[in-house]
Amino acid sequence: MSKKTLFDKVWDAHMVKHIEDGPDVLFIDRHFIHEVTSPVAFLGLESRGIGVLFPERTFATADHNTPTINQHLPVEDPLSANQLKALETNSGKYGISHWGLGNPKNGIVHVVGPENGITQPGMTIVCGDSHTSTHGAFGAIAFGIGTSEVEMVLASQCIMQPKPKRMRINVNGKLGKAVTPKDVTLYIISQISASGATGYFAEYAGDVFENMTMEGRMTVCNMSIEMGARGGMIAPDETTFAFLEGREQSPKGEEWTRQVAYWKTLKTDEGAEFDLELTYDAADIEPQITYGTNPGLGTGISRNIPKASDVKDGEASYKKSLAYMGFNEGESMIGKEVDYVFLGSCTNGRIEDFRAFASIVKGRKKADNITAWLVPGSHIVEAQIKEEGILDILTEAGFALRQPGCSACLAMNDDKVPAGKLAVSTSNRNFEGRQGPNSKTLLASPLVAAAAAVTGKVTDPRVFL
């Protein structure tokens, strides 16, 4: 028998058909939809006069376009309200379970899927959102799709995809003080650039990932798309099984035992081949921060902004990027004055991220020049923040908690960073205007965000720990 990678095992188990000189027809186990990328897909079904083939395999949640305050009131923006209504109507019409605003299970799609046990090892999972790669943390093949493909999955529960190339990223060793999963992924992306993994599906391996919690693994897999990879995955292990056991939609009883036995087979065979293999040393990674307008333009927080001649991007694009940020080559990042801090998103909106943030702000005060938006990824995360006493710590330090949603990560709702302002954000993209027209974003971990929130400037979190 030929040796297979984890990715091959899952992909091959879902291949309904291979089309000669074309893509594979891949069966999709779980399909998530949200209000922004699904309405036109439902219109497409209607114009074709067809329905949803397996509605029980699709799950709807409202997140991208929702307010993060006063969620009990009608949504003020008529266009946003209209999209939310369309999601509810379409879900109802086709028998799709729908977690709208106010539903206790509502939250960011990539947070609620795993926390309700919908995401499981060995599955294929898609959603009209590029950060669907998050679910790869469970040993699933999960990737973002466009609206035509959302329609395709609704109509046929299949997707047509050419098989990506295989890549493995190994990180071994012991992570240093204040180095979080976010720093590991930002470090990898800074090493290979924002397009370095395009055309590949990544597997993360090595003891750094083996020792990570599921929350940390989700942060890493979430950011796979930011290096261009279609997705990233980590072999399921005892940490994965412990996370899933007892969750609402996880298998139960004998079925649980049977599935765990199968999940244990989901690992790359010794000697299986990858098209590209990269290895990094955990000791080389320090807390990271980005300085440019794509996630590959990042560096260790104590280092200076590189010279144009030292980066992989073209010089014109690099200079445009720094000009947008108002930064100069060779400058230090430490000490730059910050205006906004955003803790949240499908990248860092989970309980562990709030614990990390609280560990630094505890007993300190929010800096006067900082506007802070702390947005839990779901109502379940929100409840846990309250139960664990984290809310008390945040309140004491002068911070307020908002309600769940994608919020300032993509700024579709009112949570927009104003023009010219600089934000330290735990989200995933620092593109021009991503967090509001002409706003500027520095991507970082919850610890770096917390350090900025209490000092008012870019600060190395290691001074607090």
Partner: protein, 197 residues
């Protein structure tokens, strides 16, 4: 959703010689609130094209009457970031049918093929040639021949071949989409579904 078939396109080009043009630049998230596929072309490259007060930025290429055509020529890693198909819709709706670059982000490339925009990947050297020809003559025409998988600079006759799989080429030249194909596989898919949890 069916689209017009694509065979041979001869057109002048709009040059955008920047790398890493992400889908947030192609269409910012605040313009994704529609429930119908209408009007996205108006907001194509919104924040590069217009000032905050909605007046056009005269230095942006789409506001420069010197350049026009159905082909957008862009720097490497075009379409990175978000999976929003709205980016491809905006490009199509504005009037482009083809994007030429030396490197495309995966999801954008797939979305484009699904809605009838042909993404043509050429070598960095050939991309540079096209940019230089447009620079010396903004009316430079490029011929994109899908059946023969060949892209040619009309004035100089220089050409390069490009890749596309046979299945997608057949779809594009006939205006078919994947759902047409998958509908024919329904029985096979239903059998397969029984084996999955």
């Amino acid at each position: 959703m069916a689209y017009d078939s694509f065979n041979i396109l001869t057109s002048s080009c709009v040059p955008l010689p920047l790398e890493n043009v992400d889908t947030d630049q192609i269409i910012p998230a605040r313009f994704l609130k529609a429930t119908k596929r209408e009007g996205f072309g108006d907001n194509l490259f919104r924040d590069w094209r217009y000032n905050g007060d909605d007046t056009p930025k005269t230095d942006f290429v789409l506001n420069n009457p010197t350049y026009s055509g159905k082909i957008l020529v862009a720097g490497r890693n075009f379409g990175s970031g978000s999976s929003r198909e709205h980016a491809a819709w905006a490009i199509y709706d504005y009037g482009f049918r083809c994007v030429i670059s030396s490197f495309f982000a995966d999801i954008f490339k797939g979305n484009s093929l699904n809605i009838g925009i042909l993404p043509v990947t050429v070598s960095p050297e050939f991309l540079d040639k096209i940019f230089r020809c447009i620079e010396s003559d903004p009316k430079t025409e490029v011929i994109v021949d899908l059946p023969n998988q060949k892209v040619t600079i009309a004035a100089t006759g220089e050409s390069e071949s490009f890749d596309i799989n046979g299945y997608k080429k057949h779809n594009m030249t006939n205006g078919f989409d994947d759902i047409d194909y998958l509908q024919s596989m329904k029985a096979e898919i239903a059998e397969f579904e029984k084996t999955r949890i």
